[in-house]
């Protein structure tokens, strides 16, 4: 560690408050020039807030940011760009109907000399040359953005960012939508950029990639940085430990699983497109975890289990009874409940009240001859609010105004009301603060102690390790590995999620 290696970025003791929550609590983040520095943390740890402050989108309440030699109390997007920092966002900020050349040169189009008219041909050639030279990628400049794969579009985004000759690139969850082969291409590009002296900040929750590509990694938890480690000298377990903060025993409520007979049997289920030949059994009182990267087919599997998508092959048997055609209506009638991954779009009617949402799936209980009995409905929802500790001013509050965690509890509350027997929970704690997460975990335990079976789809390793009895790992549409949770480790789950090769040596 030489004294000569200068820090290109120093965020010092950043404090950021939002109404009701302190997102960053004196967090610091230091990046050395020329390194690839990872930034990890659970959802709600403050990663995205920290980066938005760096991007000039938010202003810190306290703290300072030093870029190169200059120190600032706050930044604007324009300043940040001038200072040589470019961001590769999760969203593809590209115009779908533009060509690659038009996208790369947007704002700095090449024109004929003397005339304000665009020289498309030379612009196309320049774009192709630029891609080949700086990124080692060959693409035709006239291809439309919408005809590119996600990985190719990302390359174009990177090329565009490079046009500004940045000193630092910040990648925000770049590999979420990529296949393994495409991730390798991205890593080649990152190595190239590093060789050109560009500093990289790499935000990701794929710890295996952090280990592969980053020199150092900073862990955020509850709005503060809890450690900066040299990746070569640490383990995934250590990083996860820092991210979660407590030992797994502390984080997850104690469970005494009493596993009963099978209630759901899936045999050779497939849609012949995104997932194939899936077979498993869910028992009463059991929490079955399903995990896999994007593209593993797990999302399609859940949608099919709930009847949202049709299946091509396979059988679904509920309590021994087969289902020929499944749709959400029949699923609910048979005792299935779905807590979907996008609660705002699919889980709640955001413009309705807490009361309305909680009773939504069990309106028969609060109706007499088809007419709603409002008093009864309100009583039921008040009970649910109390029992789930949903923080809301009243049961008539419009759900849109609740925090993510409380919204999620409303969704779960709706299904608790309906007394379902099988719960499909799809990424139930995404975007929820740690405190609320623990409460959701307690809820899950209550469900299984009542004899329900729970399928928990998640990509958060600690959650899988702490909450499930068994874990199924999906890869490229198939179940590649089944674990008894007590014998699973973070490393092994990660390794199987990416196809079974472990790149963590000597750990």
């Amino acid at each position: 560690m030489s004294e000569q290696t200068k820090n290109i970025l120093e965020m010092q003791a950043i404090v950021k408050d939002f109404p009701g929550v302190r997102a960053l609590d004196h967090a610091s983040f230091t990046v050395r020039a020329g390194e690839v520095h990872g930034l990890v943390g659970e959802n709600g740890a403050g990663k995205s807030t920290l980066i938005k402050i760096l991007a000039g989108v938010y202003q810190p309440d306290e703290g300072a940011i030093t870029i190169g030699e200059e120190t600032f109390r706050s930044l604007t997007p324009h300043m940040v760009e001038q200072l040589g920092i470019q961001f590769i966002h999760q969203e593809r900020y590209l115009v779908p109907h533009f060509t690659i050349a038009e996208s790369i040169f947007l704002g700095q189009e090449k024109c004929y000399r003397g005339l304000p008219l665009i020289d498309h041909r030379s612009m196309t050639r320049a774009a192709e040359a630029y891609l080949a030279e700086t990124l080692g990628v060959v693409l035709k400049g006239r291809t439309l953005i919408r005809d590119l794969s996600v990985a190719e579009a990302q390359i174009v985004q990177i090329a565009k960012a490079l046009m500004a000759n940045p000193k630092m690139l910040v990648f925000d969850e770049p590999t979420a939508p990529l296949a393994r082969r495409e991730v390798d291409i991205l890593f080649d590009v990152i190595h190239r950029l590093k060789a050109q002296g560009i500093t990289i900040v790499y935000i990701s929750h794929y710890l295996q990639e952090i280990a592969e590509i980053c020199d150092r990694v900073t862990v955020l938890r509850n709005g503060v940085d809890v450690g900066t480690l040299v990746t070569r000298e640490t383990t995934t377990e250590e990083i996860v430990g820092l991210m979660v903060g407590r030992t797994l025993e502390e984080m997850f409520p104690p469970r005494e699983p009493q596993i009963g007979p099978a209630i759901l049997e899936i045999e050779r289920l497939g849609d012949n497109e995104r997932f194939f030949d899936i077979s498993f059994t869910l028992h009463q009182g059991e929490v079955l975890g399903i995990t896999g990267l994007i593209g593993s087919g797990r999302e399609a599997l859940i949608d099919t289990l709930y009847g949202l998508d049709a299946r091509e092959t396979g059988d679904i048997r509920y309590h021994g009874q087969p289902f020929k055609r499944l749709n959400p209506v029949r699923a609910v009638k048979s005792g299935l409940a779905l807590v979907p991954r996008d609660r705002r779009k699919h889980g709640l009617i955001v413009d309705f009240a807490v009361n309305d949402n909680i009773n939504l799936s069990s309106l028969n209980e609060v109706a007499r001859s088809g007419f709603l009995v409002r008093k009864q409905a309100r009583t039921r929802s008040a009970e649910m609010v109390k029992s789930l500790d949903i923080r809301t001013p009243s049961v008539e509050t419009i759900v849109r105004y609740l925090s993510g965690g409380n919204q999620q509890k409303v969704v779960v509350g709706r299904w608790l009301n309906s007394e379902a027997e099988i719960y499909l929970l799809d990424e139930p704690t995404v975007g929820i603060d740690v405190g609320a997460k623990v409460e959701i975990y307690q809820l899950v335990n209550r469900l299984v102690s009542r004899g329900a079976g729970v399928i928990l789809v998640s990509t958060e390793i600690p959650e899988l390790l702490g909450m499930t009895d068994r874990i199924l790992v999906m890869y490229r549409g198939r179940i590649i590995k089944e674990f008894e949770t007590r014998s699973a480790t973070a490393d092994s789950i990660l390794a199987w999620s990416t196809g079974g090769q472990s790149t963590l040596e000597g750990k």
Partner: protein, 322 residues
């Protein structure tokens, strides 16, 4: 594989094939259909529509092709009608023509500026904002004209209406000049590219350092310019101003503008496509008249075409998100 190639081929060239079939159909039914004289006739008839549609296309390109949330200017028909009324009144009162044109342009630009402010700075949906403006301007025009026809007898107006240069009607020449200008600006200049970027993805435009609001406003002002020229052409055709112009023409403008996307390999609203679209509308009207089909049918077919084109664009949008 073959099926995909067939589908791709149809998507790319289907509209051209349809246009060709329509032309063939009418030319078989009527011997004078495909003569140069009749073609020029059609172009003269659609000059008003085409020019106004260039304006509408500017707004759609700058605001996005989503019919509900994207850029649209439902008031453009009303604005051009108002321009016609203003010009007719002032010219018949003896004001100098250049001054009249300048006043008309300013009026159109002020109205479009209002639209732009509502949409860009107040955040109103273009569909609703321009709809409200349409009713307002229609009302304004009625007040201005007292619902009466205003006849104009002016050498300038007659020159536009009847004049020819090398055998080509002046109206067609004006159409082609406006076409060339809008095509150049919107498809060949940096400004045009930026307007399209703002319409295609405001976020992408913003992160590229473009002044998103400026280009949005500019697209509405371009519509104002087109509305002015279009209003002038109406004045020439009718030798004056008549109440009721704006309603009739709006459907045609919407059709010509959105059908332009079917002529483009990128399935985007574009200026050359608008010219073809306006020509198609003219062909349908002219053709059906020549073969003695009642205009009722033409309205019905146009309506169906609008439905088809808007659905096709919408379906295409769904599959196009990156």
């Amino acid at each position: 594989m073959l099926r995909k190639r067939l589908v791709d081929f149809l998507l790319r060239y289907g509209a051209f094939i349809a246009l060709a079939l329509v032309l063939i159909f009418f030319s078989l039914r009527s011997p004078i259909f495909l003569t140069p004289r009749n073609i020029l006739n059609i172009l003269t008839q659609v000059a008003v529509l085409a020019v106004a549609s260039f304006g509408m296309a500017s707004v759609v390109m700058g605001g996005g092709t989503d019919v509900i949330a994207g850029g649209i200017d439902l008031s453009i028909g009303a604005i051009l009608a108002l321009v016609t009324a203003v010009c007719a009144t002032l010219i018949s009162q003896g004001m100098a023509v250049p001054l009249v044109l300048l006043i008309a342009l300013v009026v159109a630009l002020i109205i479009e500026a209002f639209n732009a402010v509502m949409i860009v700075y107040l955040g109103l949906l273009p569909l609703l904002a321009t709809l409200a403006m349409m009713f307002t301007i229609n009302g304004l025009e009625l007040v201005f004209t007292q619902n009466m026809i205003i006849a104009v007898d002016s050498p300038f107006v007659r020159a536009i209406a009847d004049g020819r240069v090398l055998g080509v009607p002046v109206m067609v020449i004006i159409l082609l000049v406006v076409f060339a200008l809008y095509h150049l600006v919107l498809h060949q200049t940096k400004t045009g590219m930026h307007i399209q970027a703002v319409g295609g993805s405001p976020e992408a435009a913003q992160t590229s350092g473009l002044a998103v609001k400026f280009y949005s406003v500019l697209s509405y002002l371009l519509a104002g310019v087109a509305a002015t020229v279009s209003g002038l052409l109406v004045l020439a055709r009718l030798s004056g101003s008549t109440p009721g112009i704006s309603g009739v023409i709006l459907l045609d403008i919407v059709l010509a503008t959105y059908v332009s996307a079917t002529f483009s390999p990128r399935w985007q609203v574009n200026i050359p496509g608008v010219l073809l679209g306006a020509f198609l509308v003219g062909v349908l009207t002219n053709g059906f008249t020549l073969i003695n089909v009642p205009t009722f049918w033409v309205h019905g077919i146009k309506g169906l075409l609008v439905l088809f084109v808007v659905s096709a664009t919408s379906l295409q949008q769904k599959g196009a998100s990156v």
